[in-house]
Symmetry: C2
Subunit: 124 residues, 2 copies
Amino acid sequence: MTRQRAVVLEVIRSDMCHHTAEEIFHLARLRLPSISRATVYNNLRALEEERIIRRISGDGAADRYDNAYEPHGHIVCPECGAVKDFFMDGFAEALRRALGTEVDSYELKARVVCDRCKLHCVGS
Amino acid sequence: MTRQRAVVLEVIRSDMCHHTAEEIFHLARLRLPSISRATVYNNLRALEEERIIRRISGDGAADRYDNAYEPHGHIVCPECGAVKDFFMDGFAEALRRALGTEVDSYELKARVVCDRCKLHCVGS
DNA sequence: CCATAAATTTAGACAAATTCTAATATTTCT
DNA sequence: AGAAATATTAGAATTTGTCTAAATTTATGG
């Protein structure tokens, strides 16, 4: 666990947001100005492989990172890309049963325009 | 509905595969050699907005396109990116109930190593 | 403590996927 | 036909992410 990896992890855990790699890079530089973009990407990948964080694929835009590894659903705003967690009881089991096989992992993403964007959209 | 858009749609409907934009571009050129990559992308986006096809986000690799708009699950092989459809009875309704709101659309992706890749992986 | 090996970091080059631009061509409407 | 709107094209540009090679740090074993 190098200083750099610790900083990346701190940034991810510092708030409830699901940041992009680029955002994590900028936030990490506030704490460790010498850190490079490649190191951020390297550590994000390493942390994902160690099953400490999870990558949320970004539907065209940049991927985002979740401070929890446990799979769960995400509500994504199709306007601004903001992500919120959500949990659906018994879903993993239902999925396994529906497929009839073990599942490496899953991604469940519901697109719902967030309140902030809804306001903007109504006006325009 | 221009000739180009018709060709893009024909390609997508011509088989059960979930092709990438690049593959669609090459297949479309067999039918209409002058078609350009930008036109393929333009029409894929237009068709998606018209809710005629659906984009499946490609987890790092290129996105793929589904000839149906109706949301349903996808089984994605994390090794080779191959995509298969799957259906889970009552899922859309369960999702709406879990979220307590209407859902624009959803994406449900289960990562399962496909049979072909499983063979390769066992050997290596 | 030193030597060596192994892993990590860094900056920047590179690559893939997609979007943008500006000119041209086509379609649509009157 | 003429004007306005829309679509196409080729290639440039952008975004996101990976790769490379050199420098640095960390770990290991005498």
